[in-house]
């Protein structure tokens, strides 16, 4: 069944404690190439039939109103999963 992916990331200017904790730990495991990490959310919405323009619009709206908190997060991507 087709799925729509919604990606939500903390706004760039907002502190991301998750990302901070990870970037602090990576070098200890020998991963030294990454200067910063940010952790966001990925949602996969399953659609029961075909993904129409209307359904995609619904997903976009759900992304903005419910799946993300516009005060601290941005929706960075809404797309149909290939």
């Amino acid at each position: 069944m087709p799925r729509i992916v919604v990606d939500v990331m903390p706004k760039p200017e907002i502190l991301d404690p998750q990302g901070k904790a990870i970037v602090g730990a990576l070098p200890r495991l020998g991963f030294t190439s990454f200067s910063s990490v940010r952790q966001g959310k990925r949602f996969e919405l399953t659609v029961d039939g075909e993904v129409t323009e209307e359904i995609l619009a619904q997903a976009r709206e759900a992304a903005e109103t419910m799946l993300s908190n516009p005060v601290i997060e941005d929706v960075v991507n809404v797309e149909v999963l290939a």
Binding site: P10, E13, I14, L15, D16, P17, K20, A21, G24, N69, V71, I72
Partner: protein, 769 residues
């Protein structure tokens, strides 16, 4: 030229300010009034630089300068007797007051608000509220040991309430639980007056040895100034002044504060790290960074110490490299501290930082110049007398007057009102009324909230929800400990601000004494509307006068607190809500008294007398009425009742005690039986005869200075004698019936505990899942 175009690479230096006196500055956008800006110019003898303007604007905001309340708050410092000063080690003015517990122990506690941020973003707003108050406690040199959270939300069934409730409670839990601080109590009130202005207050308490007390001052020329903890980002820039000096108005979304995100893990590490610094005596002075960030920390440290400090601002570690000097000075990024360290201790200080992987940067040093000088890459951008920033802000004598509607409001008593029609009298009606009361939004069980809070961590929690006070053991050897309760009744205070504030104090005092602790100190968070409204200003002035007068009578000092103004939607203010926290002391917390009945056959006594006082009560609230006069304040009776409860607990005369407050005797009886699922048989005829009230009034009146206690058979004579000797009204109203599963009140249909419990517990899950 405006500051905007002046941003990054064209730094506004003092030299530049002298050369360009006519530059337009955005003082209004930063929340300063014309007269305040003019005052800044006068103080400096020139126009401020952009960085100086940023500092003055945040430090002279209502939130940081207390400019509308200062004149009134003085009373807390003035109305103190020698008795009240006896145990005060540090008084008002420091980050938090410190009280002597004896045996070399001291305790510090404080309550603060995080109201507007919690409306905008409930989770983070409430979380950072906990974070901020805990840092205040650490900066005194104490180990934080518990938190509390008095909360007020809009109507329980309003569509927006769930958002705020879910977020705030999860945020308080998310942050406090991660710090390893037990949550030992709080409040929860639903009222539509808080719809657009929920109140999220947070209290923290910490303990220390006397020698560990630290103050926020920078002394010793040549000592180094260090900033440590989280990096500085753009959080809450303008938040302090915009938030606190402008009413929140949704037509101007651009005025919304930037949201701060908390990192409880960083704060937990910061706590441990600070305690290690204190233990090694590695810091001379220390200050947390809260509202007004570096502006506040540098100016307060400097003006409380030798008076001078030099700081190089490019040394501040940034999360966002595009920040301007002014923004860096204003940033409210969380989880940061500033300290003063002697050169000899630098190495040891750095070792502690490295151990806990906390970032730090050395910013400058203490001087004796009397000036706070801040440079940007060597160029002077701030050159001020730190006192003018930190202490000499504007003070307003705002006009106030008793509102013209106050008389009509007080004349509109519940008794005989339309809403009072059909007052329950028959046994079935009374039973239904009790059930309605204890399942109502304000009187229902708060366990939906408290289950989200860790109460066990630390292993020293001796009492918490749902008992009258939270109790924490301080010394495991001796059992020395503290008790805390917070209270406020916005409806009482709306009806009569002077007495309403006293009632808040009386209730918190009574709660502490009910647990068996000796009340010692007060902290308060004054949540009010706009001080520019003379009605509100009158409420504030009356509340402060009432509270300070009552503290004198009860003999316990205010050691610190917080004022939160502009809590209003449009021109409609919240009910005046002075949240009062009282701290008490136990020589041995093993003597604490829980609120529930336990042993079969114990006698149940009611202490105090009952008058017909239903105005402002929960019952009248349930019927949609608000008018008349709140219950009478009798502080002498509160003191006497307190002494009885404390002595009875110390001498083992009682096994349970529960004070009567909102919901009166009906609520207290139900709560005492539900505490351990233990029933009782109650007869109130003697009470009704003695006090001249009907059964309904006996159950629902909110007369003050009352409590119910469970007395073991073997102690009855002694207990009676003590009350008689003290001339305090006491009456045996029933007996514990442990296995009956019923609360049997003569004249009221039997109340099965199972059904009561379901009604009591069901309300919050019904609305909030």
């Amino acid at each position: 030229m405006s500051l905007e175009t002046n941003r990054k690479f064209n730094i506004d230096t003092v030299e530049n300010a002298e050369k360009t006196p006519d530059t337009e500055l955005p003082w209004a956008e930063l929340g300063l009034k014309k007269n305040e800006f003019d005052e800044v110019v006068k103080v400096l003898g020139r126009r401020p630089t952009g960085a100086e303007l940023a500092m003055y604007s945040v430090m002279w905001s209502e939130h940081c300068s207390y400019k509308s309340s200062k004149n009134h708050l003085r009373q807390f410092g003035e109305k103190v007797t020698e008795e009240m000063k006896k145990d005060m080690l540090v008084g008002i003015g420091e980050n938090a007051g410190v009280t002597n517990l004896g045996d070399g122990w001291a305790v510090t506690f404080k309550i603060e608000s995080h109201n507007s941020p919690s409306f905008v973003e409930p989770y983070q707003g409430a979380a950072t509220g906990i974070g901020g108050i805990v840092r205040d406690i650490i900066s005194m040199g104490a180990r934080p040991v518990a938190v509390m959270d008095p909360l007020r939300f809009g109507a329980i069934d309003h569509p927006d309430t769930a958002r705020v409730m879910h977020g705030a409670v999860a945020g308080i839990g998310g942050y406090g639980n991660s710090l390893g601080l037990p949550n030992i109590g709080g409040e929860m009130v639903f009222d539509s007056v808080y719809q657009g202005n929920p109140l999220v207050n947070a209290l923290a308490v910490g303990v220390m040895r006397h020698e560990d007390i630290r103050l926020a001052n920078a002394s010793g020329k040549g000592n180094k100034v260090v900033l440590f903890g989280a990096r500085t980002g753009g959080d809450g820039i303008g938040g302090a002044s915009v938030l606190a000096s402008e009413s929140f108005d949704d037509t101007k979304p651009s005025k919304r504060p930037a949201v701060q995100v908390g990192d409880p893990f960083a704060e937990k590490v910061l706590i441990e790290c600070c305690l290690e610094l204190f233990k090694g005596s590695l810091v001379e002075g220390i200050q947390d960074l809260g509202a007004a960030g570096i502006s506040c920390a540098t100016s307060e440290l400097a003006s409380n110490g030798d008076g001078g400090m030099e700081v190089e601002l490019t040394s501040v570690l940034l999360r966002d490299p595009s920040l301007t000097p002014g923004e860096i000075l204003m940033s409210e990024s969380q989880e940061r501290m500033m300290a003063v360290v002697t050169p000899e201790n630098i190495e040891a200080f750095e070792a502690v930082m490295d151990k806990w992987a906390v970032e730090y940067s050395w910013l400058g040093e203490v001087t004796d110049s009397g000036r706070l000088i801040i440079t940007w890459d060597g160029a002077v951008i701030v050159d001020v007398d730190p006192r003018t920033v930190a202490h000499d802000g504007p003070v307003y004598d705002r006009p106030y007057a008793r509102p013209d509607w106050q008389d009509a409001l007080q004349a509109d008593s519940f008794t005989g009102s339309v809403q009072d029609a059909g007052r329950p009298a028959a046994p079935a009606q009374l039973a239904a009324a009790v059930t309605e009361l204890i399942s109502s939004p304000n009187m229902c069980s708060k366990s939906w909230i408290t289950k989200q809070y860790d109460r066990y961590v630390g292993g020293n929690t001796a009492l918490a929800f749902p008992d009258d006070a939270g109790v924490i053991r301080v010394d495991e050897e001796t059992g020395l400990g503290v008790a805390l309760a917070t209270d406020a009744n916005g409806r009482y205070t709306f009806l009569d601000p002077y007495h309403g504030a006293q009632l808040a104090l009386a209730e918190a005092y009574r709660n502490v004494a009910t647990s068996g602790a000796v009340p010692m100190a007060v902290s308060d968070c004054l949540n009010f509307g706009s001080p520019e409204d003379p009605d509100v200003m009158w409420q504030l002035a009356e509340a402060i006068r009432g509270l300070s007068d009552a503290c004198m009578v009860l003999g316990i000092p205010v050691t610190g607190g917080n004022v939160s103004l502009y809590n209003q939607t449009g021109s409609t203010p919240i009910h005046p809500s002075p949240v009062v926290a009282v701290l008490g002391k136990f020589d041995d917390v093993a003597r604490r008294t829980p609120s529930g009945w336990q042993e079969d056959g114990q006698a149940i006594y009611l202490l105090g007398t009952t008058a017909a006082e239903l105005d402002g009560s929960e019952w009248s609230n349930l019927r949609g009425h608000l008018g008349g006069l709140p219950p009478k304040v009798d502080l002498a009776a509160e003191r006497e009742l307190g002494e009885i409860l404390i002595n009875a607990s110390r001498d083992g005369m009682i096994d349970s005690a529960h004070d009567l407050s909102e919901g009166g005797l009906a609520a207290a009886l139900v709560e005492s039986s539900l505490r351990y699922g233990v029933g009782a048989r109650i007869a109130l005829q003697d009470l009704m005869d003695r006090d001249g009230v009907d059964l309904f009034t006996a159950l629902f009146s909110e007369t003050q200075a009352r409590a119910i206690v469970g007395v073991p058979r073997s102690e009855e004579v002694r207990f009676n004698d003590m009350c008689t000797a003290r001339g305090f009204m006491h009456l045996r109203i029933g007996v514990v019936d442990a296995d009956s599963g019923i609360l049997d009140i003569n004249g009221v249909e039997d109340l099965a505990l199972d059904a009561l419990n379901e009604a009591h517990e069901g309300t919050l899950p019904k609305y909030f899942g």
